[in-house]
């Protein structure tokens, strides 16, 4: 629960990418992705160059692709959309493998797929090489409002506590023959979620009191190493 805990996507390492200041990494990610998004969709050499730059950074970070690739499944829902694009878009038709598809739709679908994949891999690289505490400090340095950084800090700090609590509730439900996914059992699930809300809120109140008793005045003290 304390500082220095890696989060689920973090990959421990000591590469230059790991050591780079978090605020620079966030700025680099946003800048890079803006360039990728603004790239004309048929400028394939440019897109290939951007992908190569990204792969270079991944190689530099020494996070194995074997680690990153399985974690790219978050992309799947919109891959479906990208695949549908050639079929639902307008414009001149063209033949691909004997199927008539829309040419602009095909171009857009491919561009969407490429840009989206670059985006997911770039975000994963940031997540894999940055400790949450460093990220928070980086956001602070980027003049993110202090309150937002604090809320994020609390969220990250208690993420495992609350999700583990939910996990135990779901285990308890399942062991009593309840399937939380089935709409038939939604009333039971909703009661658990209500209980989880009350527990989370009350935990927040207790944390607040504990902080007040330790001299909290609206700002968190800087502790630990400053990077």
């Amino acid at each position: 629960m304390g500082a220095g805990h890696g989060h689920r996507l973090h990959f421990h390492g000591h590469s230059p990418v790991h050591r780079a200041p978090a605020h620079l990494k966030v700025l680099a990610l946003v800048g890079f992705m803006l360039v990728v998004v603004a790239t004309p969709r048929q400028a394939y050499p440019l897109l290939a160059l951007e992908a190569a730059v990204l792969l270079g950074v991944v190689a530099l970070s020494r996070v194995p692709l074997r680690y990153l690739l399985p974690r790219m499944v978050v992309e799947v829902p919109f891959v479906v959309f990208a695949v549908l694009m050639p079929f639902i878009a307008h414009g001149p038709r063209t033949e691909v493998l004997g199927v008539s598809v829309s040419e602009p739709g095909l171009v857009a679908g491919v561009a969407l797929l490429v840009k989206g994949t670059i985006g997911v891999l770039a975000s994963l690289t940031l997540a894999a090489t940055t400790e949450p505490q460093d990220l928070l400090r980086g956001l602070q340095r980027l003049r993110t409002p202090d309150l937002v950084v604090q809320i994020m800090g609390f969220m990250i700090r208690y993420l495992d506590v609350v999700t583990a609590e939910l996990g135990r509730m779901l285990t308890a439900l399942r062991s009593r023959g309840c399937d939380p996914r089935s709409p038939r059992h939604w009333p039971v699930l909703a009661r658990s979620l209500g209980a989880l809300f009350i527990r989370s809120y009350e935990r927040g109140e207790r944390v607040h009191l504990a902080m007040l008793s330790r001299g909290y005045d609206g700002r968190l003290p800087q502790t630990g190493e400053t990077r």
């Binding site: 946003v30 829902p77 639902i88 989206g116 990220l135 937002v148 969220m155 609350v162 699930l189 109140e205």
Partner: protein
């Protein structure tokens, strides 16, 4: 359900980013009124709750699954300003630490999931609270209707953004029909779960439900004599 990078063009992403920054700045001031100095820990834990609630996937058919968006739920439970803040923080953390939702689409995601669902859900809820009998038992149905309407409206706003900044010309009518139809189904699930969760909290800790507070203040203290000796 998060919009990835490259779905909308750069100007649209930048515009929604500006909307998101402005809304979060406004919410920061509003949340202080709702939570005073408890804002950081309380909103942080509520954000964690929203994240946890979003983790439960429901099968919606055709092999895909949807999850709770939680905008209307958070608005009724903790108030609209705190809700915008909590859902936005959840989206930022998801984008930066979990690669869920594109970093350039962060503004779009905050606008759609953080602002539109909360604003619509809360507006509908408050309107219904005025119309319905002023009883605690009416809070949960009002929240459910708010959630039901908030999801298709978010889909509508997404379609509007897509028509402005989408990178391809598709039949907008078809996209609109598909998005609205699909999201009405998702909205029904959202409504059922939201209503049931709010009903649970109202039954056990009504003082924690922000949307029920005006009704609580109106309740008169009932002193029953004779029942206990």
């Amino acid at each position: 359900m998060h919009v990835p990078d490259g779905f909308l063009d750069a100007p649209t992403s930048a515009a929604t980013g500006a909307v998101a920054v402005a809304a979060v700045a406004l919410s920061l001031r509003g949340a202080r009124r709702e939570l005073d100095d408890r804002t950081a820990p309380a909103a942080g834990l509520v954000a964690t709750f929203v994240f946890a609630a979003q983790m439960i996937n429901f099968p919606v058919g055709a092999g895909t699954s949807g999850h709770l968006m939680g905008g209307a739920l958070a608005a009724v439970l903790v108030g609209p300003w705190t809700a915008v803040l909590c859902v936005s923080v959840v989206l930022v953390v998801q984008a930066l630490l979990m690669a869920d939702g594109g970093i350039t689409a962060l503004g779009t995601n905050i606008t759609l999931i953080g602002i539109v669902t909360v604003a619509v859900g809360w507006t509908v809820f408050v309107a219904l609270r005025r119309v319905l009998p002023r009883r605690l038992s009416m809070v949960a149905p009002a929240a459910a209707v708010g959630a039901l309407i908030s999801v298709p409206v978010a889909a509508l706003v997404f379609t509007a953004l897509f028509s402005v900044g989408g990178n391809v010309s598709v039949d907008l009518g078809a996209v609109l029909t598909a998005m609205l139809g699909w999201h009405t189904v998702i909205g029904i699930g959202e409504a059922v779960v939201t209503g049931l969760v709010v009903a649970t909290v109202v039954a056990t800790r009504p003082d924690l439900v922000h949307g029920a507070r005006p009704l609580l203040f109106e309740r008169e203290l009932e002193v029953r004599t004779g029942a206990v000796r």
